[in-house]
Amino acid sequence: MSLYASARRRAGARVPRATRAATAAFGLLLGAAACSGSGPTGAPASATPSAAPVSATPGPSITAPTPAAASPVTSEPALIEPPDAELQSGAVVGIGALGSFSFRETGQSAPWLAGTPIALPEAAPIEVDLDPALPVDSWTAAAVPSTKLQEIAAVSLGEGTGPIRFDGPAAGSWSVMVAVRFGDGLGSASYFWAVTAE
């Protein structure tokens, strides 16, 4: 977990999140709590619904609500932020602004952000890497005209399951979002760049 507390910054990269260092230190604590969260009473799902109702029309009144278990957690967990996402296109490098995420049993809600400003050639090839690296299950990339962030009439730039590679938007000012679903069930995050494509 310490990898999240030591997000490395490359020269020239923007650092949009001042809270990362402070919150990441709590990651160890929550990580431990999260790992214990799948204890005996939290065991998920077998194929056989052992606690499931058996009558033809069972309902919530048939099975009494589970009594609240005493929490073994003595200190309050803190938010854990996912890795940085670093966009590279030629010599241009920019760390995306972190929007909504759900990561290691924590998360936040955020709007479609304007994002970290960068300038690119029209339809420039883009690659996005995570720092520190994490496996990626899937990703999508989309763009919204920067003047229409609230309308969210997004244009798809690509999606895939491997390395995050796609061509940037056409000429204009855009907010580009890359939504990443991490491997190993770690969660997902959305990253934003304000792209001026010329």
Partner: protein, 361 residues
Amino acid sequence: MNTHPSHQPRRFPGALLAGLLAIGASAPAPITAHGPDPVFAGGPFGQNKVLEFRWRTGAVPPSAIRTAILAGAQDVTESRASRAATFVYATDGPNPIGYGVDATCGSNGIACFTRTAPYSFTMWFREQGHVFDWGTLKWCQMYTTAPNGCYDVENVALDEFGHVEILAHHVNHASGSDYRDAVVQTYSRTKPSDGYNAHVFGRCDVASLQREYDMLSWSAKYSTCLDLDTALSLSASSTWLAYGGSVTLTASLKVTDYDTYDRLGGNPVAGRKVTLQYRPVGISTWSSIGTMPAGATSGTYVLSQTQTSGRDYRAVFSAPSDEGIGGATSGVVTVRVDSCQASPCPLSALDPNEPVKEEPR
């Protein structure tokens, strides 16, 4: 009966499937884009568990925000369509919900949460007027007439409660065209964008809640964001009858028991329309007898028939258009009949569609 040779659910089609199936056995069931919401690895809370929350000391939301959060908690109960946990306010509840400048959300977050299933959670909402890099936060409930660009607290609260349950952000189409399939979303919308004030879980939120917490009843409908195989079996009380004897056919409809269906695998499926069909032995064309009434056991359907000649039977369940389960057809059950022993044989009792013939023993 629907079968799937790989024993993988049909709801994960496409090129992503192979890669996703490579996930280890300990990982959550594979989730691809545009399907049920992904879920956290930490597991669910107890089924129907009541999670009591309180307002965080020194960070109590203003009245309008409190009212909206309470409404969001009620929205969970009313739209979970599953045995997911519910959220109830209690002055001494163990789970704090706070509001204000002390919120520990990330720099762009309007609300955030932590979950320690199956025990507890925390939640925070940013204060009205908080200045972000992207603008100033406006909560709709803080206005007599909500302005465009405001966030609906009740919607955001439902989103956060959904996270606490176990839901991670829905994987949208890149275009966002499926935004309304989930409240637990990758990005929050503002007034007046479509879905900004949704107050019920979306179908793909419900799909994952059902999979993780199970159904409220066996007759409840499965989310249309699911695509579950079903299995239909048929048995007869006897496979050989005296002439004019009666047989009771019992069909049993279940969700196919795949591991990847989590709690839903093997569920009896009750309250649906299962039809009994027959054909004379040796004839290929099936005819419908009628709908089988519900049996005494959940997911069973029973119908009795009187026979004067041999018949094949099968049960058919057609895929409903309003829920996420597929159709199924049972195997064939043959019920033979002794030839008429007493003369004259009651020809009038014969099935008019069937030829009169002796059955070989």
